[in-house]
Symmetry: C2
Subunit: 369 residues, 2 copies
Amino acid sequence: MLVDNKHYRTIWFKSESSDKVCIIDQRYLPHQFIVEEITTVDEMVTAINEMHLRGAGLIGAAAGYGMYLATLEAEKDKLFDASIKLSANKLINSRPTAVNLLWAVNKQLNAISKCTGIAGKKTIARELALCIADEDVNSCKSIGINGVKIIEEISHKKNGSVVNILTHCNAGWLAFVDYGSATAPIYEAFNKGIRVHVWVDETRPRNQGSGLTAWELLNAGVPHTIIADNAGGHLMQKGMVDMVITGADRVTGTGDTANKTGTYLKALAAKDNDIPFYIALPSSTFDWKMTNGLHQIPIEERDPDEVKYITGLYNNKLTKVLLTPSDSNALNYGFDITPARLITGLITERGICNANVKSIKELFPEFLL
Amino acid sequence: MLVDNKHYRTIWFKSESSDKVCIIDQRYLPHQFIVEEITTVDEMVTAINEMHLRGAGLIGAAAGYGMYLATLEAEKDKLFDASIKLSANKLINSRPTAVNLLWAVNKQLNAISKCTGIAGKKTIARELALCIADEDVNSCKSIGINGVKIIEEISHKKNGSVVNILTHCNAGWLAFVDYGSATAPIYEAFNKGIRVHVWVDETRPRNQGSGLTAWELLNAGVPHTIIADNAGGHLMQKGMVDMVITGADRVTGTGDTANKTGTYLKALAAKDNDIPFYIALPSSTFDWKMTNGLHQIPIEERDPDEVKYITGLYNNKLTKVLLTPSDSNALNYGFDITPARLITGLITERGICNANVKSIKELFPEFLL
């Protein structure tokens, strides 16, 4: 997508021959656009864990690149296999909720183990890192093409007047390699000339909505309005929301969805007001064997200081301010579970299905028995 | 309630003979405790409108004191009645959603009009201001005594283990003259030795939860944890919430409740997880003639900058930081409507009733026909 009219992905090699991995350090957005160069597995683990980069698809892609860096480090160690395993474990454990991490690392481990010779292992890991990233881009593009039909239909029903879409957190191109999941249908609709307007949940505590999604939409010229997370229910009550699309960090084979904390509340409000509620995801986000989101998906508990402090711009400098009494405790679960019963449909790269085993199986017969 | 072990109300005359009205300027909490002295109606209007003070009960009390100041100003004007009417209008229009404002101003207008002679009008207005404040205190005390029974019952069912109560916004003593509405049963339980713990919704955009409720609970020694507004649904899913109590800004005769934006989302989640959801209110918060909250209660739209900026402590100074791209728009409705069907009960100064006409009428037969 465009940043100041220059095309970017969220992760790339500095050049075709370079081993430096470039990422956009999202901690500085929306105020500063900073590219970080990563050269070690540990730096990549830090970038994932401390959220220089975040989002289901991008975390997966970053793990892919990380595993390439792991082959470079393993070459220097005596014990190649043990070194690779160690790096894989570090990457897998850098964030607990996003299944894409596990998916990408396993894909790499499998490919690396099948290739003989260290040179070959390095080559295949580099190729696969690029391939995982490209696959993410293509999936998101397809999600856009599939999802735009829903927006078109609503636009048609409203005789071409503005379609108001609410989204939570950032499942935009910054959360993937390009296009995004929840935003892909929106960008597609916008590019087709369908009139859309996006309600952007700010998404406390880390404000990925007001910081990242709004920044993306602003760069792309898509009309949008930032709202407090508390506001969405009332907008729905007042008929000001036509549909909800969010991304997902992990979706069970039965359609239960782990996504950024607060998604469940919006799904309840959408249900209460008969508003369609969609989850957009590439199939890498499915955890096929899981059947009960609430009991099986691990929910990350993050630093309480993310609730107690917030960073914003003051005198053109990023400044961290204390919001609470310093002696009060805070608790910070990063995700919640939206039960399948509240989800109108899943928008995937293969098409749209309902959030149940039968319908998911029709699109992905090879994964579900 | 106590601030650094000294007892305070939220509004008082500086001395028995003084015409200066003192309030706690809540914009500086939780970081600084500042008392503001108010001497004119316009200052009181500003204090209400710009939220130096806020909360249903306190706004009512402030309007009561404001009308006393109005009699002092009217005495100086030639046209006493016109001056009083002008002041009344200014006060009524200082905030649109809280019905207590209208209630207190009308009570004063009625008393002032019945009294002959300017000296008498001044005296009655001063007396009535004190009386409205005392009535608020007594109502809140009774709400505590009535509401504690629910907490006691849950504590008993849990064999004395900690009762986890979630609250949204600040319906504490800072929102009233003393004790608070939603917090009154909590303080009462705590003082009786019942083990309680409060989940404090931070309550964006103005953070009355993390700024005011947490500060109150900290000063009173009540165990509490601040959470992002997005988190409550997940805590309920995980069985970590035993009940919800919030305040209200206006309640219809049918039990529909306008309260701080986001309350509706918590009510939906409580319903979805079979968790009792209570509204605590003094009867001055009822708008007896209204029958449909969603269609009849006006919802205040506030400055979008409350969403785009936030104030916190940096280097021991209150500092306002920008959270969003500066060119993005924001929208800021202050309240939402929780339909009666989602409310387990209303805790009032006369007792607890269900959120429907029949049950409300049993407690308040004189207001509902």
